[in-house]
Symmetry: C2
Amino acid sequence: MPAAEDQPAASPARSARRQQTESAILEAALDVFAMHGFRGTTLDQIAERAGMSKPNLLYYFPSKEDVHARLLGDLLDHWLAPLRGIDPGGEPVEEILRYVRRKLAMSHDYPRESRLFAGEIIAGAPRISGFLTDGLRPLVDETVALIQGWIAQGRLAAVDPVQLLFSIWALTQHHADFAAQIEIVAPGDRAGDAGAFLDQMYRRLLTP
Amino acid sequence: MPAAEDQPAASPARSARRQQTESAILEAALDVFAMHGFRGTTLDQIAERAGMSKPNLLYYFPSKEDVHARLLGDLLDHWLAPLRGIDPGGEPVEEILRYVRRKLAMSHDYPRESRLFAGEIIAGAPRISGFLTDGLRPLVDETVALIQGWIAQGRLAAVDPVQLLFSIWALTQHHADFAAQIEIVAPGDRAGDAGAFLDQMYRRLLTP
DNA sequence: GCTGATCCTGACCGATTGGTCAAATCAAGT
DNA sequence: ACTTGATTTGACCAATCGGTCAGGATCAGC
């Protein structure tokens, strides 16, 4: 058995060249999938944006579904991290504000991923219902219990924990998903404004 | 000249039958466009859902673009109404809370329209940038000025008015656009919870 | 500079796309 | 019943879709 690789089997040291091409494909695919959704995206579009022929794209990924699945998989890996980062031992208001800031930073740094996710949900979550059920939901239940505990201790204002989480998702992802609208209605970089506003809003809401 | 009709020209009393068929088409098209976006939607899907053949659909609407444009037009007519409904002479906090409630009700009653709009924005707003620039933006500028006036009078807490509006849009539309996620993470009808939460949140934020 | 594996593409395939058209059907006067 | 216009559809079209395939480039190791 050869030395352990990140790929579990069959591939003896995946060439850097291959990884680079795969990245170029995924980069291009993210652009198009985030904009037009799965069904509205064509392989020709992705291939052209990636600067290669369609058969070559299919040499790296067996099908359109595979490209999309890979993007979603990579995305969902990172999606739960901020929620997991809430420290049950920390100061409640500050912990939630930290979560808000991390989520907002993710929307700011990865807007296409946010739009990809949004489009998937709008389409009825056909490809990620498993993730939502097995990955997100248990973590939400856990976090809701934690928040309820904080409220019971009087360390947090009495709010509906589920609605609190929904509101954080809505407010942070909005800046990525509706960027086109924001840019037209109020042009200019509003990232700082958004951060300050959310800080103010949740501090007022949550301070007991 | 015949008696005035709702259609300004050429059509002498559009038959009720035609309007009924058009409605059936638009109803089916809204389902599909809201779910899959413009490019991801096919005329065959719409025709099948509307219970007719594709050529017959094209007898009522000259093209796929026309169906989509009609849906967007009808939607945008209603979209600005709640924002226009803010009364400059009213009590500031209550006026904004009323706007929040009306917007939430719209998302609750017309979730497909909300998703259609969201998908259009995510796709870069190619077909509604005119509406955003000519319809929404001036109204936003107006409302922002109104809110700034209220803040200057000390009748509203000092918040960024632009961010305030964005937050209202995000929080209300979220319940329609991300319904699939909400249903999985926290099943059951949460409409009442959402209303109460938003009321609490904005009251705390805006009360001077 | 030969060889074998990897990488890449033009040409092509059947299915599906938005849209057309001629002909069939329907509804309503007369 | 007959005519007229509005409605509906099967058959069809060129373009595009996801995907295949045979063969040409390109590269590393020798």
